[in-house]
């Protein structure tokens, strides 16, 4: 009897172990190692479906489930219907993609036809000689790429990628705030981003709001992406650079400004991740954040808010532009089909759909015509106004790979020490400036 229990138990444990091992390795079924993809049944179909061919598209963008679903259920079926070409969409991390590209290019067995990634990553891939020059590809008709994006996609004189999507960080104003504009600043100045819309005018405005309402109604997502405001907006606007002049007299002036401004900033800012909720709750009338993170507020109450360009500083109107592009690796097996996919993804219609589904902005001018009136138009108008200001000082997020997190953290630490704890800006910027130098050296990236 006991022997039977023993053997039954052992069989149970064995079965459990098999199931467990299956579960553990099961996580790896989405593995993107080159060997796995080349030997997978889907890859074999590349050779069989000669009619339309097949595109293997590896992308670090549109990876979250909802965005991925948009690609798989809307974009790719539309493309297949139009061209008859199948696409295998591979969501992948930057680290995995660069490892895979390196391995494929080195071995000469390239399986990826199309790469979707951010500007900084494309710059790196090209510096390694992995991407082909796209200047001789057929013209993409019926669209005009926004010149800023066009300019950035040419790196070291080579057309490295085709701009695909963009994102940025903007200011959102609750229209009620216009009641408290300081003298000399008009609603139109703010909406159009004229010379009068400066950081000093912003400070006056915030002060005015506080004096008239008794409330601090300006807010920032200090728990969220606030470091982007520091390195991509204030620093370039005051010093002309993101990092190069981190501990300069201009930087000290900037920190003094921020300390002043902070007297009128809602103290709960340090507990906010993103600004849509505080805007909707009425905790703030003016907020700065990533477009995707304020989209909710605009969508829910499009008549209440307006999206405007950020103010300008002594050196210009610094702002971050996140640009994602599409590139074809050297030796890609199906580059003609990949080009057709690039063509499809950058059509005004698909660009407008991408904005409404994912919050990423179009890179072609004609897309705005495709947008229905309403919240998305409010957003797109604000973003376009910011991009077309004459004093625009566009900066990109430095491509620091694994050091990216530490980079942002150092700016937040400087803010905490100088503004919140009142430490000496000269000392703190010296301290943290040295750490930033070291970080860029380790990452092998020049100071932006």
């Amino acid at each position: 009897m006991n022997r039977r229990i023993l053997s039954l138990f052992l069989i149970g444990v064995l079965a459990l172990a098999i199931v467990a091992s299956g579960c553990i390795s099961g996580g790896g079924t989405t593995s993107t190692s080159p060997s796995k993809t080349t030997s997978s049944p889907t890859a074999t179909s590349t050779t069989t479906s000669k009619a339309g061919g097949k595109v293997v598209w590896a992308s670090t963008q549109l990876v979250p489930p909802a965005e991925r679903a948009f690609i798989l259920n809307t974009v790719l079926p539309g493309f297949k219907k139009q061209t008859g070409i199948d696409v295998e969409f591979i969501p992948i991390s930057y680290f995995d993609l660069s490892t895979r590209l390196a391995a494929e290019e080195k071995s000469g067995k390239v399986t990826i036809d199309l790469v979707g990634d951010l500007h900084g990553a494309m710059d790196y891939y090209d510096s390694q000689g992995w991407l082909m020059d796209l200047s001789n590809m057929p013209q993409l008709k019926g669209r005009t790429f926004i010149s800023t994006f066009q300019k950035y996609s040419v790196i070291r004189g080579k057309k490295v990628y085709i701009p695909w999507m963009s994102a940025t960080y903007v200011m959102v104003i609750n229209k009620e705030a216009f009641k408290y504009l300081p003298s000399g600043l008009t609603e139109q100045d703010v909406i159009q981003g004229t010379d009068k819309w400066t950081y000093d005018a912003f400070l006056e405005w915030a002060k005015n709001i506080y004096e008239k309402t008794g409330k601090k109604l300006v807010g920032f997502p200090v728990k969220g992406l606030f470091h982007r405001f520091l390195h991509g907006y204030l620093y370039p606007s005051y010093t002309g650079y993101e990092v190069k002049k981190f501990d300069s007299p201009e930087a000290i002036k900037m920190w003094d400004y921020l300390k002043n401004l902070w007297q009128y900033v809602n103290p709960s800012s340090t507990t906010w991740d993103e600004m849509a909720d505080p805007l909707l709750r009425g905790d703030v009338l003016i907020a700065w954040d990533h477009t995707a993170r304020i989209k909710d507020a605009i969508t829910k109450e499009p008549d209440k808010f307006v999206v405007v360009p950020v103010p300008r500083g002594p050196k210009g109107r610094g702002f971050i532009l996140v640009v994602a592009g599409l590139a074809i690796p050297k030796g890609a097996p199906n580059k003609e089909a990949a080009w057709k996919l690039i063509d499809y993804l950058t059509t005004p219609k698909v660009q407008a759909e991408t904005l409404s589904q994912t919050g990423f902005f179009p890179v072609v001018k004609e897309a705005s015509e495709e947008l229905p009136a309403g919240p998305l138009k409010v957003l797109a108008k604000g973003v376009a106004a910011q991009e077309s200001t004459s004093d625009a000082l566009v900066v990109m997020i430095p491509n620091l790979g694994k050091y990216g997190g530490q980079f942002g953290e150092l700016y937040k630490e400087a803010f905490r020490r100088i503004v919140l704890q009142g430490q000496d800006p000269a000392q703190v910027t010296k301290d943290i400036g040295a750490q930033l130098d070291k970080l860029f050296q380790e990452a092998g990236v020049p100071l932006p």
């Binding site: 444990v13 459990l16 709960s268 009425g282 694994k402 990216g404």
Partner: protein, 285 residues
């Protein structure tokens, strides 16, 4: 033969649990230790050095310990009071019991969000007070400048949310105490306090021990509520572990903080077991 096999049966019965713990606790723990102490093919203290010198480490350790020291004893006292009150039969007892247990059904993140929407500057509480004409400007409870208020709010919400864990265990313990002891004490003229001190509390020790052990372990890893209500204004160890892994991508430092929480929980567990040796009156002859 039959006797020989039966010797192994107990081991076989605990084997599934051990296998489970080995796979899901033991293996990740070894990997965690490796992340902290293993670098470039050998033993290294570089990660520990980086973790300890982190700007947020000491405040996080201090805050975590302060929260544990304040929250756990307060919860124990509150839970005892509630349990003693609920151990009696009175009208509306079931409703009171349900109300007390509701927070247990909420996750810490949900509890944090609920309280944030009540206590934030434009939350229900401020709106109510303003509409009643009691205040003119909202009471600010969150933000770096209001460190003490933030800390008090954290303690308050955590008390609201998790006192019930101790309460349920203590109440179960209370209900298991035989009425005979109490009646015998009454016969000998023992008043309420004497009964509580000499009979109820000693008999409750096993329940209190379990409840304290569970609550302290959870209190050391307090995170969700802190993250939602105050972010990094009040850094805590578990929050820093999360931040290091998800934002900074420094897995070693994250693992070190997690390991530290594990070591502290283990130490406290041992201390509890030593200090609160239960007196099993039923077995003492």
């Amino acid at each position: 033969m039959a006797k020989k096999v039966s010797k192994y049966v107990p081991y076989l019965l605990v084997a599934p649990a051990l296998i489970y713990l080995g796979i899901f606790i033991g293996y990740p723990m070894i990997e965690g230790i490796k992340l902290v102490f293993y670098e470039n093919g050998g033993f290294s203290l570089a990660t520990v050095h980086r973790a300890i010198n982190n700007y947020y480490f000491w405040p996080a350790l201090r805050n975590t310990l302060s929260l544990v020291v304040i929250i756990v004893p307060t919860q124990l006292i509150l839970a005892l009071i509630f349990a003693l009150a609920m151990n009696k039969v009175f009208k509306g007892r079931n409703i009171a019991l349900t109300l007390l247990i509701i927070p247990m059904t909420l996750s810490d993140i949900a509890a944090g969000l609920i309280w944030y929407s009540i206590l934030s500057p434009s939350g229900f509480m401020n709106k109510l007070l303003i509409n009643l004409g009691l205040i003119h400007t909202p009471i600010q409870l969150f933000g770096y400048q209001f460190h003490t208020r933030e800390f008090i709010m954290l303690v308050f919400v955590e008390l609201w949310r998790s006192t019930v864990t101790i309460f349920v265990i203590v109440l179960a313990g209370l209900q298991m105490i035989s009425q005979e002891y109490i009646e015998a004490a009454e016969v000998f003229g023992a008043g309420y306090w004497t009964r509580l001190r000499r009979i109820i509390i000693p008999l409750l020790k096993p329940s209190i021990q379990t409840a304290l052990l569970l609550r302290t372990i959870y209190a050391f890893s307090i995170f969700g509520i802190v993250w939602v209500l105050v972010g990094r204004d009040i850094p805590v160890l578990a929050g820093e572990a999360y931040y290091q892994v998800t934002q900074i991508k420094d897995y070693g430092v994250g693992a070190f903080y997690a390991l530290l929480i594990a070591i502290m929980s283990l130490t406290i567990g041992i201390i509890y077991l030593r200090l609160t040796k239960a007196e099993y009156l039923e077995v003492r002859r």
